[in-house]
């Protein structure tokens, strides 16, 4: 049996994932997070804040909330249910850092927590910044 035949055999017996259900759950849960943040944002606007400041505060609140939920061991249960719906928004970014921090806390503050805090979030930061840079270059070229 060669490599190709075996891969075919494995594929035959691999269970199919409920992609539609997962996508729907992610759509709804991601939407709810969007809704919650819009509500928080509007509340801040009511308190005479300008839109830039209220955006910043909204993000801080979401980061804090998901970080606390990770800390009390609740967020991973949510991830199990809603998957990418709560991993893709900023809640997931915060969750990835807090979970790394908890995981490596006992390996020492420098060798554990410090060096592993960005284990998962590092790629988001690097490629996020890099793609922002590319987009700005494109924008400058076309819009001046």
């Amino acid at each position: 049996m060669n490599k190709k035949e075996y891969e075919k055999l494995v594929k035959k017996y691999s269970p199919s994932e409920d992609k539609l259900k997962n996508a729907l759950m992610a759509f709804v849960s991601g939407g709810i997070i969007g809704l919650i943040s819009t509500i928080i944002y509007v509340i801040f606007l009511k308190f005479d804040m300008d839109s830039v400041t209220s955006t910043a505060y909204t993000i801080v609140i979401l980061i804090l909330a998901s970080s606390i939920l990770t800390g009390i061991g609740f967020f991973d249960n949510l991830v199990e249910k809603f998957k990418c719906g709560i991993i893709i928004p900023i809640t997931g970014f915060s969750h990835s850092m807090t979970s790394c921090a908890i995981d490596n806390k006992k390996d020492g503050f420098i060798t554990g927590l410090g060096s592993n805090l960005f284990k998962l979030a590092g790629s988001v930061l690097l490629y996020g910044t890099f793609s922002a840079f590319i987009l700005v270059v494109i924008k400058v070229i076309f819009n001046g």
Partner: protein, 321 residues
């Protein structure tokens, strides 16, 4: 491949520790159930060392003249087993065959006993879901979503005395498996990684020792999982022309279906947990072939886009009434 028959090698006392998750599954009469992944300590690694130590303490209390501990776990450099062994004034030989470690430990002890170099020794293995998860996959609290084909590392430790004194379980024969390149690069599909190794070891065991498959009442594989077992059976059918009459996969039956733990249990402790706390307690089978399967995967090599290798070691057991 190296296949061998043993004359006077037996399995004596055994002791099993597992977490409450495994206890809620299909296992019976576990010696100790722990309800807390930390086991009262500060780290998961410490908890795994403590589990192993409890097993060895029990076995040493009830047996004299033990000169050698052979065993291993999933942690890097077998640090956990080594740390456990440092508590005793006994020789220690670490073994890494991933989830096939238990069988490789028994085979090496059985060979030494058969050669009359030692009289008895302890074979031990353990795995801890959180220790393995941290080392091989994501941080624990991250709870990364997993596909259905993945297996769930069991938490527990099992040790057994391998001895020349007669007991009711005889170690008849063994086959040491090859390292087989599965050509699979998916670290979440261990069943598919290990199935070719299991089929290859079974085929060679039967061929080299000139045994018919009907000789065994039960073929007990380690942790192929629900989907890996199907691949294993089809491989045997199409490639080796072997028809299994009775096959159980320990990983597939350790947890109950309603526990919903993906494709079943994995980890080196899976096979001994099911063997000592289910199969042998049922007293239904006389000749059992254990095929422990191990996925020898390293996150580094997987990240470098290499396929994963696997191994499988077989042990033939005879239950004497």
């Amino acid at each position: 491949m190296a296949s061998m028959k043993f004359n006077n090698v037996y399995l004596g006392d055994s002791y099993s520790v597992a977490s409450s998750l495994e206890a809620k599954g299909n296992l019976k009469n576990l010696d100790l159930v722990i309800n807390d992944y930390y086991f009262g300590l500060k780290t998961f690694e410490g908890a795994e060392i403590k589990m192993q130590k409890i097993v060895v303490d029990y076995l040493l209390q009830n047996n004299n003249n033990i000169k050698l501990i052979v065993g291993g776990d999933l942690s890097n450099q077998l640090a956990i087993t080594a740390f456990m062994a440092s508590h005793y004034n006994i020789s220690y030989l670490g073994m890494y065959s991933a989830c096939a470690t238990f069988n490789s430990a028994i085979i090496s002890l059985a060979s030494l006993i058969d050669l009359k170099k030692i009289n008895k020794g302890i074979a031990i293995t353990s795995s801890h879901n959180k220790v393995a998860e941290r080392q091989f996959r994501y941080p624990i609290e991250y709870g990364a979503p997993k596909p259905k084909r993945t297996t769930y590392t069991a938490t527990g430790s099992v040790g057994v005395i391998v001895t020349k004194e007669k007991t009711n379980i005889r170690v008849e024969s063994a086959t040491i498996g090859q390292s087989i390149n599965s050509s699979i690069k998916d670290a979440l599909n261990m069943g598919a990684v290990m199935a070719p190794a299991a089929a290859n070891t079974l085929y060679n065991h039967l061929k080299e020792l000139n045994i018919d498959i009907k000789y065994y009442d039960l073929i007990l594989t380690g942790d192929l999982g629900i989907y890996g077992s199907k691949i294993f059976k089809e491989l045997l059918n199409t490639k080796y022309n072997i028809k299994l009459n009775k096959h159980i996969d320990a990983g597939s039956i350790l947890y109950k279906k309603e526990q919903n733990l993906y494709a079943g249990s994995s980890g080196p402790v899976t096979l001994p947990l099911v063997l000592f706390n289910k199969i042998l307690k049922e007293k239904k089978y006389k000749k059992i072939l254990l095929i422990a399967t191990g996925s020898l995967h390293s996150p580094t090599l997987v990240n470098q886009k290499n396929p994963i290798c696997a191994t499988a070691h077989a042990i033939g057991l005879e239950v004497i009434k």
